[in-house]
């Protein structure tokens, strides 16, 4: 029996610097939690502002480790470097930096989008923001985790916060049902993941991904039943978290039942963390089992593309439609990963980052359409939006075309890069299948655009018989414009973000 040590027995003080953003975020979150206790309901914006400030400072700290601020330079923490700390359990590499930054930026956006929504529905509570911050902390830990234990810890921190956020509208039956479903299925998934991890640990003798990787490289792994079984359980767990077919059942119900602002959060940032988790577990840990997981993921991807795109056509509820659309997009993300090449991983990374941007924008428009007493979650609520609010209709059109993958929006380049990755490893059937599915998918995106542009609005004010205006705060409108224009800007100049992803993957894995 080889003797791998779980944790080296030495008591040097760990290097806290690579984990500085996380440490700061934890402290900041506790501060928000405390301050919020002493605030009246009318002063709730203080918690909101404080949460945003905490996020911004965390983002700056992550950014600082990027650009090599003088403070960091003295500690030789250049951005292309891979630094580990806490007995090698925590890693800070370029991929982690970029993903963390994206997660934080998306969350800042989600908070801006959701503020008014929460206020008009009596959900403007400090807990919303502290839970959100804890979720971000969980995600950041997942992104940086280098042992299976830490991955699991981060995942649970994220999941527990998310369960509570989904149940935030506690007097609403559907929200509670969604939260319950999410909790039960999420718990099963965590259990599966943990079971798989324990099997891998049993065979390889270590929780540390690098050690597992080394064990894999030096043994015949493809005929090791224990490992394969562990791998299957891990994939089941990951599949649940990512929401791919056949582990997707919770996605539409949770998306539909949760308050829209929570759906937006749930649909964007955690997907990025789940991507990181897959890269860490499957690629860094079980990279030598690639033949094992490639086929499973190919089937999961194909099924997700099929079910996601076809079932979405039958939806009349826009949140459910976007939920199925997410499922199909996760199929595309898996395509890049299953290629098992660096091009593939960077393609998936590009895909997930751009998808998070697009999905946030899409849900923002759903929030924009709703008002107190009217949730606007039906597709028919989009009717005639181009007459009611031409600019937000245009933004929504950009998001929808981007989801459909029509150039010159960024969605096209995301699809291009993952398809390139699978064609590169000669899985051409999947490439052809995915493009056929994206044509089917184009139909329901087009239908939404049709509702906005070609149909007449039917939302009239009962009192003075005029069209109901679409109202929003200045920061909401500004962010929506930035969000929408970034979809087209990234579509015209996708090169920089793509190179960034390629660089991140090649210097991390």
């Amino acid at each position: 029996m080889q003797n791998f040590t779980l944790i080296p027995m030495q008591f040097a003080v760990p290097d806290f610097l690579p984990a500085l953003p996380e440490i700061y975020l934890l402290a900041g979150t506790c501060l928000v939690l405390l301050v919020d206790l002493f605030l009246k309901d009318s002063q709730r914006f203080i918690s909101y502002l404080l949460a945003q400030v905490v996020l911004i400072i965390t983002a700056l700290l992550v950014l600082a480790s990027f650009t090599g601020f003088p403070f960091f330079e003295s500690l030789q923490l250049s951005s292309a470097e891979k630094v580990t700390t806490f007995s090698e359990m925590f890693v800070l590499d370029p991929m982690a930096r970029i993903l963390k930054l994206t997660i934080i930026i998306i969350t800042i956006g989600v908070f801006v989008y959701s503020r008014d929504y929460l206020r008009s529905r009596d959900m403007y509570k400090g807990e919303y923001f502290t839970l959100g911050l804890f979720a971000v902390l969980g995600m950041m830990i997942m992104v940086s985790a280098q042992t299976m234990l830490l991955i699991y810890l981060g995942l649970e921190l994220l999941s527990l916060s998310m369960y509570a956020m989904v149940a935030f509208r506690r007097d609403d039956g559907r929200a509670s049902e969604a939260a319950m479903k999410y909790f039960v299925l999420g718990a099963i998934a965590s259990g599966m993941l943990l079971y798989g991890m324990s099997m891998i640990y049993g065979v390889s003798g270590s929780l540390h991904l690098e050690h597992i990787g080394r064990f894999m490289a030096s043994n015949q792994v493809m005929d090791n039943i224990g490992l394969l079984l562990g791998l299957s359980f891990i994939i089941v767990g990951l599949g649940f978290k990512l929401g791919v077919v056949p582990f997707h059942m919770w996605v539409p119900d949770v998306y539909d039942g949760a308050p829209t602002s929570v759906t937006m959060f749930l649909g964007a940032a955690p997907k990025i963390a789940a991507f990181a988790m897959i890269i860490r577990l499957l690629v860094e840990g079980l990279g030598d089992l690639v033949q094992g997981w490639q086929q499973i993921l190919a089937i999961l991807a194909a099924l997700s593309l099929l079910a996601g795109n076809i079932i979405a056509i039958a939806q009349t509820n826009i949140k459910r439609m976007l939920a199925y659309s997410t499922i199909s997009h996760m199929g595309f993300v898996l395509m890049g990963i299953l290629a098992g090449t660096q091009t593939g991983y960077s393609a998936s990374m590009f895909y997930i980052i751009t998808y998070a941007i697009i999905a946030t924008g899409g849900f923002a428009v759903v929030i924009l359409l709703s008002r107190k007493g009217h949730e606007a979650d039906q597709l028919s609520d989009l009717k005639g939006l181009s007459s009611r609010s031409p600019w937000s209709a245009f933004m929504m059109m950009l998001f929808l075309f981007s989801m459909a993958g029509v150039p010159p929006t960024v969605g096209f380049y995301a699809k291009l890069s993952v398809i390139q990755a699978v064609v590169n490893v000669n899985i051409i059937w999947l490439a052809v299948f995915s493009v056929v599915m994206s044509v089917i998918g184009a139909y329901y995106y087009l239908r939404a655009i049709k509702l906005m542009y070609f149909d007449k609005p039917d939302e009239f004010d009962a009192v003075n018989n005029s069209l109901i205006n679409v109202k929003s705060q200045w920061d909401f409108s500004l962010l929506l414009s930035i969000n929408g224009l970034s979809v087209i800007a990234l579509g015209i100049f996708p090169g920089a973000l793509m190179s960034l992803c390629v660089w991140a993957i090649s210097s991390s894995i």
């Binding site: 029509v406 493009v435 044509v439």
Partner: protein, 503 residues
């Protein structure tokens, strides 16, 4: 002027002009701004003609800048004798469309004009792109404005038509994307010239050829994937029909010359029979379908499909001739015929749709039976309409004759029956067009509304007059156009007859 970035100006000036138009207001600003932008673009595009050197097949006005470095995709533009005339056709057509929509479009004119300007820039991009992904981006981006134009300003059944149009063309092109990526993995670059020189196995070539056939066949459109076209044409506003018939369909033909023939020559040769069969079916069968239409726009739409059959026939008849004669001598005429047919069809079909638009604006119906005796009330219009109808039937002296004659002449070298079937168009085409003229223009006035018609005004006369001049000039003196594209087409034949098979 514009040294080194002329093509960029032609792409981005209309797009930016379109955005300006969008914000210039529905009441006054939009129309003059749009006309100014389109006219300026047209005059700038004339610099392409004057500055073009017809000697050699090399790309001219080349622009090159790295774009997406991780995939080695470049912003690479250039034109040769094939694409240059098509860009001019596009810039001219857009000016006419803006003029044609001047008074007619009352609902959101700013957005209407903007959509056409943006489309103009994007289509120029399609013809100028020398990188296949850049081509694909423009190729797809073009769908968005067209989708909106049909959907907002179209007829009663516009939503069905526009979604069908979008999905059909989108479906066609996605397979091409997979093929391009496959070839990229072999060639290590997306540049069109690199893809043209990469060696491929026969199976790969056949599959790639089929994917191109779907992409460009839908665009042309070829039988049996033509069914979106009558719907789109009938429902689209006049401007939409004109740009669709005059320019967008040409992208399909252009794709065959730029992608299919040079990139997969062996498969093209192997499957030429299929394309020829499809083209002949379009010419004969679709011609008969045109004969029975009651809707004027539908009739012209079907006649477009039949005429575009000559384009694909002219391109692919090359291979049976080589099989018969053992050399590519004389095949150039077929390609030239196809190209002239494309340009000429651009003028004629554009003019036909504009004429129908003129009638529709006055009568608000496209039913042939509602008309009769229009010549009594609108003599000027009737004269022009008859001219375009004659050109549509291929009367010598009009541009319609030149291309079809060249293609038929070439087909005789390949096979008597191919030529025979192609020639039937002279009868069928004459039948449906002349019958249309008889029922609409001539005869006694039966409908009281026809009796109230007013002849075309100065604006309409100008638009149709310009097209009439082009139809006659190209019909009487096609030499300049033939000369410009000669060397590029010779090069295409060279590529199409050089095997690229992997040993």
């Amino acid at each position: 002027m514009f040294d080194g970035y002329l093509l960029s100006v032609l792409i981005w000036l209309p797009i930016i002009g379109g955005i300006v138009t969008l914000f210039s207001g529905d009441t006054l600003g939009a129309r003059p701004v749009a006309l100014l932008v389109s006219a300026v673009t047209f005059f700038i595009s004339l610099l392409l003609w004057t500055g073009f050197n017809p000697e050699g097949y090399q790309m001219q006005f080349v622009e090159f800048a790295p774009w997406i470095e991780s995939f080695k995709i470049n912003y690479h533009l250039g034109v040769d004798g094939i694409s240059m005339p098509l860009i001019l056709l596009n810039t001219l057509t857009t000016v006419l469309i803006i003029l044609a929509g001047w008074e007619v479009i009352k609902h959101k004119p700013a957005q209407y004009m903007a959509a056409f300007l943006i489309m103009e820039g994007v289509i120029n991009g399609v013809f100028a792109a020398q990188d296949s992904i850049l081509f694909y981006v423009f190729f797809e981006a073009m769908l968005i404005p067209m989708f909106i134009v049909i959907g907002i300003w179209g007829g009663d059944n516009r939503i069905y038509a526009t979604i069908k149009f979008f999905l059909y063309t989108f479906f066609g092109s996605v397979f091409m994307l997979v093929s391009l990526i496959y070839m990229y993995n072999q060639a290590g670059s997306f540049a069109i010239t690199d893809l043209q020189s990469v060696k491929l196995s026969m199976t790969a070539q056949i599959l790639i050829f089929l994917s191109f056939l779907v992409a460009f066949g839908v665009k042309v459109p070829m039988w049996p994937v033509h069914t979106w076209l009558p719907d789109a044409h009938v429902q689209a506003p006049t401007g939409g029909s004109v740009i669709l018939a005059a320019v967008m369909l040409k992208i399909g033909g252009y794709g065959f010359l730029r992608f299919s023939l040079p990139m997969v020559p062996d498969a093209s040769s192997e499957l030429a029979w299929l394309v020829i069969f499809m083209s002949l079916t379009a010419i004969v069968y679709i011609g008969f379908i045109a004969l029975v239409q009651n809707d004027m726009k539908k009739l012209v739409a079907y006649s477009s499909i039949a005429h575009m059959g000559f384009v694909t026939l002219g391109f692919f008849v090359l291979f049976p001739i080589i099989a018969n004669m053992g050399s590519s001598e004389g095949t150039l005429l077929g390609l030239q015929g196809g190209m002239i047919q494309m340009v000429s069809h651009g003028f004629i079909s554009g003019a036909m749709f504009l004429c129908i638009g003129v009638l529709y604006d006055r009568m608000h119906t496209r039913e042939i039976t509602a008309y009769g005796g229009v010549s009594n009330r609108m003599p000027k219009f009737a004269a022009l309409f008859v001219l375009f109808a004659m050109a549509n039937t291929g009367l010598p002296g009009t541009s319609g004759f030149v291309g079809e004659f060249m293609v038929i002449l070439t087909s005789f070298k390949a096979n008597f029956w191919i030529a025979f079937l192609a020639t039937t168009t002279l009868i069928i085409g004459a039948a449906y067009t002349l019958w249309l003229v008889k029922r609409v223009i001539f005869g006694a006035v039966t409908n009281p509304k026809v009796a109230e018609l007013i002849d075309i005004n100065k604006r309409e006369t100008l638009i149709l007059g310009i097209l009439a001049i082009f139809v006659l000039v190209l019909g009487l003196w096609p030499e300049p156009l033939v000369h410009v594209m000669n060397d590029s087409l010779v090069h295409v034949i060279e590529q199409a007859t050089t095997s690229k098979l992997v040993n």
